[in-house]
C-alpha cells in the first residue's frame, strides 16, 4: 500500500487537470481512463512546442521546418515500434484512431484475401468498433460473421471459439482486453489461430497502456490502439501489421503521400508505411503519442501495471463486500477495469450522483450493446484506473456509493 501511495504522489502532479475542482469544491477523482486517459504536462507542453517552434508539413518540403516536423513524426514511429516490439518501423501505420485501423484492415484484407461466403470470427464482448467494420463486409460483400460465446467469467469460451473455424475462416478479430470486464484475452485463442494459420487482429485499445505489449511474443498479425487512451492526444491511432500482410494488402485511401509515381493513366504506390498514410497525417498528435510513450517508459510500465493491479484488486475486494453491488464478470483477474451495477439503480443515476461528489465514472453500454443484451442489463457503471489513481480515491468512491444507494432508496 505504501509503495502505491508513493507512486501516486509522484505522478499526480504531472497531470494538471487533476488539480481541477469539480463544481468548484470537490477534488477530481478520475475513474474513466478506459474512455480516455488524462494527459501529462510533457504531452501538453511538447505538442504546444511543436506548433510554436517546429511546425510544417511532413515528408514534403526540404526546408528546415519540414525537416524538424518530419523528424518528430518519424521519431514517434520509432518509439511506437519499440513500445510494441514490432520487427520494423514499416509495420507501424499511423491512423486517426484505432477504429480507423480496424476499418483499414477489414476493407483491404477483404479486397486481397476474401470473397463472398468467407468467414470472420469475432466475439460477443467486442466493442462496436470491432463489430461494425466487419458488419460492412457482411452487408456489402456477403461475408459470414461468427461470434464466439463468452463464459460467465467474461472470458471467451475456448471450445466454442475452436468449433467456429471452417476452411472458409479467413481472419479473426478480438479484443485484447475487454473494455467492460477488464479481462485479458486467453493466449490459447491466439495459438489456436496460429495452428489453423488464420490471421488474428487484436484490438489493443484497453491493453496498450495497461499490459506490456510484445506483438512478436503475442503472435498476433494485426494490433491496433489509440493515442488518447495511452496518455497521448486524441486523433492519433496505431495499426501494427506484419510486413508480409501489409505488403500484400492494397492501399486503403488514396491521396498525397501514399504514391510512388503518378501519371494521368495511373499510379504506383509508396512503400510501407507511407502506402497506408494518404493525406497529411496527424503529425503533432503522433509526436504527442511518442511523448506519452516516453512518459510511461520513464515511470516504467512494470511499475504502472503493478500499481494499477493493486488498485484494481483493492477496489474489487471493496465492491465485492457490498451486498447491493453486482460486479460483472466473476472473480477472475481484471486489469484496470471493473463493471458493476447498484441493484435497482440505473447506472446513469450512479454516475450523475458521483459526478457531484467529484468522481468521474462511465455509465452506459460502453459501445457493447450485444454484450449488454447477453448480460441482461440495459447498462453498467464502469470504474477504470490509470497511473494517477490511488487507494484513497477508491475509499472515497466506496463512501460515495453508500450515499448514492441510500439516496435512491430513501
Amino acid at each position: 500500500m505504501d509503495d502505491s501511495k508513493t507512486l501516486n504522489l509522484n505522478v499526480r502532479k504531472d497531470f494538471p487537470i487533476l488539480s481541477k475542482k469539480i463544481l468548484e469544491k470537490k477534488d477530481l477523482i478520475y475513474f474513466d481512463t478506459a474512455a480516455s486517459a488524462q494527459k501529462p504536462n510533457t504531452v501538453i507542453n511538447e505538442t504546444n512546442d511543436f506548433y510554436k517552434n517546429h511546425y510544417s508539413n511532413v515528408s514534403r518540403g526540404v526546408h528546415t521546418l519540414s525537416v524538424e516536423s518530419t523528424f518528430r513524426y518519424e521519431d514517434a514511429r520509432k518509439k511506437v515500434q519499440k513500445f510494441l516490439n514490432a520487427r520494423s518501423e514499416n509495420e507501424i501505420i499511423f491512423t486517426k484512431s484505432a477504429t480507423e485501423g480496424i476499418n483499414l484492415v477489414a476493407q483491404t484484407f477483404y479486397e486481397k484475401f476474401m470473397q463472398k461466403g468467407d468467414e470472420v470470427i469475432l466475439s460477443l464482448i467486442e466493442h462496436h468498433s470491432n463489430l461494425i467494420p466487419w458488419f460492412f463486409l457482411r452487408d456489402k460483400y456477403g461475408v459470414v460473421l461468427k461470434f464466439a460465446n463468452i463464459q460467465p467469467s467474461g472470458e471467451i469460451d475456448i471450445d466454442h471459439f475452436d468449433s467456429l473455424f471452417t476452411d472458409k475462416t479467413k481472419i479473426v478479430s478480438l479484443t485484447h482486453l475487454s473494455n467492460v470486464f477488464g479481462t485479458e484475452l486467453n493466449e490459447k485463442v491466439i495459438s489456436i489461430c496460429k495452428d489453423k494459420r488464420v490471421p488474428i487482429l487484436l484490438d489493443g485499445c484497453q491493453s496498450a497502456a495497461h499490459l506490456k505489449i510484445d506483438v512478436q511474443k503475442l503472435g498476433c498479425d494485426f494490433f491496433v490502439f489509440s493515442g488518447h487512451k495511452t496518455y497521448g492526444p486524441a486523433g492519433i491511432g496505431v495499426l501494427y501489421g506484419t510486413e508480409n500482410l501489409l505488403s500484400e494488402m492494397p492501399p486503403y485511401q488514396g491521396g498525397g503521400g501514399m504514391i510512388g509515381d503518378v501519371s494521368l493513366e495511373g499510379a504506383s504506390y509508396a512503400e510501407l508505411p507511407a502506402k497506408y498514410e494518404a493525406g497529411t497525417p496527424p503529425l503533432v498528435e503522433a509526436h504527442g503519442l511518442g511523448i506519452a510513450i516516453d512518459y510511461m517508459n520513464k515511470i516504467g510500465l512494470d511499475n504502472i501495471i503493478e500499481h494499477e493491479n493493486e488498485i484494481t484488486k483493492y477496489a474489487f475486494n471493496k465492491l465485492n463486500e457490498i451486498d447491493f453491488i453486482e460486479i460483472h464478470g466473476g472473480d477472475n483477474k481484471r486489469n484496470s477495469i471493473i463493471s458493476f451495477n447498484i441493484k435497482n439503480v440505473h447506472s446513469h443515476e450512479v454516475s450523475s450522483f458521483l459526478d457531484v461528489e467529484g468522481i468521474a465514472i462511465r455509465a452506459g453500454h460502453h459501445c457493447c450493446q450485444p454484450l449488454m443484451k447477453h448480460l441482461g442489463v440495459n447498462s453498467t457503471a464502469r470504474l477504470s484506473f490509470g497511473v494517477y489513481n490511488s487507494l484513497e480515491e477508491v475509499d472515497k468512491f466506496v463512501i460515495a456509493l453508500h450515499k448514492c444507494k441510500e439516496f435512491f432508496n430513501k
Partner: protein, 144 residues
C-alpha cells in the same frame, strides 16, 4: 446532500421513475413511435389514440431506462392525456426550453406544473437527452 442532486432527483421524479404511470400499450391506438438514445441504450415505445377532434384520448408508454427518462415519459403521458394537439405541441416546446435550462418565455408551463420538476436536468447537460427522449418520440409520432 448536494443541491444539484436534490434538484435533479426531486421526490416526484424518483416516484415516477420507480413506478411509471400509464405504463403499457394503448389499445386501440392510431399513433406510435419509438424513442431511443443510442448513446446509452435507453429506449421506449409510445402509443396514443388521437380522436377526430384532435384530442389525445389515451396515451401510454413502455420502455426501460434511467429514472430521468422513465419519470419524464410518465409525467408526459399524465400531462398530455386529454389535451388538444395544438396545446400538446406548445407544451413540447416549453418543455424542451425548460430542460435546456431556460424557463423564460414559457407559454403554457409554469412552476405549478409537475413537469417543472425536470428543470434540474438543466444542471446536467449530458442528461437532457434522457429527459427529452419520450417527447421526441411524441413529436415523431405526430409527424408520421
Amino acid at each position: 446532500m448536494n443541491d444539484l442532486i436534490n434538484d435533479l432527483y426531486q421526490e416526484i421524479i424518483l416516484d415516477h421513475g420507480r413506478e411509471p404511470r400509464n405504463f403499457g400499450e394503448c389499445e386501440p391506438h392510431n399513433k406510435s413511435a419509438d424513442g431511443h438514445n443510442p448513446l446509452c441504450g435507453d429506449s421506449l415505445k409510445l402509443t396514443f389514440l388521437l380522436n377526430d377532434q384532435n384530442i389525445i384520448e389515451d396515451i401510454k408508454f413502455i420502455g426501460e431506462g434511467c429514472a430521468i427518462s422513465l419519470a419524464s415519459a410518465s409525467l408526459m403521458t399524465e400531462k398530455l392525456k386529454g389535451k388538444k394537439i395544438e396545446v400538446a405541441e406548445e407544451i413540447f416546446k416549453d418543455f424542451t426550453n425548460l430542460v435546456s435550462g431556460s424557463d423564460e418565455d414559457l407559454k403554457v408551463l409554469n412552476e405549478e406544473d409537475s413537469l417543472y420538476a425536470l428543470k434540474g436536468v438543466g444542471g446536467f447537460p449530458m442528461r437532457v437527452k434522457c429527459a427529452t427522449m419520450a417527447w421526441h418520440a411524441f413529436n415523431q409520432a405526430l409527424k408520421d
